[in-house]
Amino acid sequence: MSSSGQPPPEPFRVSQLLYDTRYRSYTIQIFALAVLMLAFAWAIDNAVRNLEALGKDIDFSFIFETSAYDINQHLLDYDSTSTHGRAAVIGIINTILIAVMGCITATVIGVLAGVLRLSRNWVVARLMTVYIETVRNIPVLIWILFTVAIVNEVLPGVRSFRGEDAMTGLLFDSVFITNRGFYIPAPVFEAGSAAVGVVLLLSMAAAWYFGRWARARQAATGQILPVFWGRLAILVIPVLLAFFAAGSPISLEIPALKGFNFKGGIYMRDSLIGLWLALSVYTGAFIAEIVRAGILAISKGQTEAAYALGIRPGRTMSLVVLPQALRVIVPPLISQFLNLTKNSSLAIAVGYMDATGTLGGITLNQTGREMECILLLMAFYLAASLTISGAMNAYNRSVRLKER
């Protein structure tokens, strides 16, 4: 009697677009897309009309025009007849320089402070707490201005290295710390240094291969080779031999006082030094907290289990605790590196010519092309951040716990 067929399909009603979960997501997304596109169209239309009213256009050709300004610290050749594009590259290299230097020292400071804050020594632990809390709660800009002021006001002037009772430089009179910045020896490469470089690369590869071979051998036979000393020997001896065989082609040029200033060597400006110290100390405090959290995250049972297996304390640290702690430490550590790189844009406040100082500073002011300059500047920082965070995600995937 009763027919058990499909119920007749309901006629489509408009309200289903909003109340039926099958359609609702499309409704919302289409609506959002429409609003978004309208907003973009509105903004771009405004921009076009505003630019037209000012008689401007979007034009990147200024990159190839002469910059006509000097950059006081440059690693590549540059003078005021170079192009704006070249100035931007110099700025970007300066940003990378400060970022790499800062990341290295910040990591050293941070790891030390983080470990010491966990120390059983009450005085040391409290001192580290004070350091971390003080640094973290004061803006980085103030730290940068403060350290540059310290360099300028506290360090001895160049004049005090001259005359009767002159000061001598550090490290056998080769490093000079003055209120204008640091003067350090520069390596000078002569003919034949390329051979030394090649030998260095080869011995690095050999050292890496030796480590792998030693590990495989240990896994197969149980014998432990002195990997550290072996690697050191492989790294140092051939390079030294090649260095002397090629007739010592690499020498140091030591800065010397000529007239009112030091000549020769590498000159690190006061702004570079101040920025570097401030960023290291500031980011170091954040890294210290990350390191501390990472170590605390590894439960005590792990160490105790390692001891119960008879593993010595040093190896417990390197084989059991550190690999696990690193999994916790590395992601936030890298985001601190990114923060440091982004904070290095504050160089503009102390006159260090990084990417923001050249591209977003003088080039922008001289050419009046704010739209193009800021776009390029943002593109640079964005590319750097996305590259690093992409690498971080790849690392995270490789060390992730394989849960089953």
């Binding site: 309200s15 919302i28 997304q29 040391v124 800009l141 103030i142 403060f146 002021a149 739209m371 951040s385």
Partner: protein
């Protein structure tokens, strides 16, 4: 007992326990355990103590004993004593607080600051009367009016716009539905009408409304231009509005990033990653130089307001990531339980997920607040006069030329007090809300 002969080698009463060796108990023992337990530790302790003593010996006499509070120039300070010349702070204190805000009008920012505490009271403490939340909602416009001045009817006009939109969404659907219009369509139409109505009001009617009411009943404060705002007042304005704006926007972005709707998710991810990928300075440059390009020609738009918008956008991207961490940290069962109760998306988020997720992310949220407040100092680069920006004019002043440490120390102390207080409050909140998983 009496008949038994005592044995010489058996003690007749229990010997009282002897005190522990001096070297393991008390302060000495503690010091031995914690400070001098080995050669390395002893050296570290001594070095740290020497360092602390050195710093104290340098700072304490300079700051407390030899300091000068009353003088009219650095020269005058040096004549009295060679310690810290705190006279500069004494003289310029009000400038540090208010910037160049007109002297006779300074009661207005002070009043706004006091009212700020009334406004955030119900947000910080659940014991406060709930009705105060209405005041909190109206506070931003009130504070704007107090600080910038102008006619009261401008902010009121803005509120009326919001009210129009709300009224459309609240009251139109039943009316439209009665007219045989489909229910869902009625709601959509009401939302559209609300947005359109508010937009029309703001675009075309606000100015007429303001002028009309001003002629009838002129309530206005003397206007103060943005260029005169500065000092801690400016930092607080940018910081507080950034904080207040970034939390709700951050929550929306975090939910959007978790959404199943691909387009919404894409937009949110793109926004967050873009903002987190560039330094705040570039965004401030955008606020300074570019933002007005994207607005209709001829729009005059206050620089401080533009900066607040960009700072808020910046902080909300970071906030979104913090809250996303909280959302991800919540056990899946909570989401499923909310679904199985039949709650719709917004209800399940509002009643089940967000309260717990926000609780987990409190430390991160407060850290973002602290970072935002510290980042307000960056506005000196685009020429606003926050406390750091006021340093330059002071040091350029002939009287105070050559003064360095006192000024940096003073500003650092201000930021330290605020940020440290915020971090302590977050710890208190964490402990208070930590009911544990029973």
């Amino acid at each position: 007992m009496a008949g038994e002969k005592s044995v010489a080698f058996v003690a007749e009463q229990q010997i009282p326990p002897s005190p522990p060796p001096v070297r393991t108990g008390g302060a000495l023992g503690w010091a031995r355990d914690n400070l001098f337990s080995g050669v390395f530790n002893s050296v570290a302790t001594l070095l740290s103590l020497a360092f602390v003593a050195y710093i104290l010996a340098m700072v304490v006499p300079w700051l407390f004993i030899d300091s000068v509070w009353n003088a009219s120039s650095l020269q005058g300070c040096r004549e009295v004593d060679d310690g810290a010349c705190l006279a500069v702070i004494n003289e310029r204190f009000l400038q540090f607080v208010f910037g160049f805000y007109p002297e006779e009008l300074r009661w207005r920012p002070i009043l706004a600051f006091v009212l700020l505490f009334v406004a955030i009271w119900p947000a910080l403490f659940s014991s406060a009367p709930r009705k105060l939340l209405i005041f909190s909602a109206l506070y931003p416009l009130l504070a704007y009016w107090l600080i910038w001045g102008g006619s009261l009817w401008g902010p009121v006009g803005a509120v009326v716009g919001i009210a129009i939109g709300w009224a459309c969404i609240r009251f139109l659907p039943p009316l439209l539905a009665r007219g045989r219009l489909d229910e869902g369509l009625a709601f959509l139409a009401a939302v559209g009408a609300g947005i359109l109505g508010a937009a029309l009001w703001w675009l075309f009617c606000v100015i007429a409304f303001e002028e009309a009411l001003s002629t009838v009943l002129a309530i206005s404060l003397e206007p103060v231009e943005s260029a005169r705002l500065g000092g801690f007042l400016l930092s607080t304005i940018i910081g507080v509005s950034g904080i207040a704006g970034s939390l709700p926007i951050g929550i929306v972005l975090a939910l959007g990033r978790q959404s199943n709707l691909i387009l919404i998710k894409g937009v949110c991810v793109g926004f967050i990653e873009f903002i987190r990928g560039v330094p705040l300075i570039t965004l401030l440059f955008v606020a300074w130089l570019l933002l007005s390009y994207f607005l209709p020609p001829g729009t005059e738009f206050d620089l401080i307001l533009r900066v607040v918008i960009m700072v808020t956008a910046f902080a909300s991207a970071y906030m979104a990531e913090v809250i996303r961490g909280g959302l991800a940290g919540l056990p899946r069962g909570q989401y499923e339980a909310a679904d199985s109760l039949g709650l719709d998306y917004w209800k399940s988020m509002r009643l089940i997920v967000l309260p717990q997720a926000l609780k987990i992310s409190i430390p991160g949220i407060v850290n973002t607040f602290i970072g935002l407040f510290k980042d307000t100092t960056l506005v000196i680069i685009i020429g606003l006069l926050d406390p750091v920006g006021l340093l330059q004019p002071i040091r350029a002043d002939q009287n105070w030329n050559g003064i360095v440490w006192e000024l940096y120390g003073f500003i650092a102390l201000f930021f330290f007090i605020f940020c440290f207080a915020m971090s302590r409050y977050s710890m208190y909140l964490e402990r208070n809300l930590d009911v544990g998983h029973r």
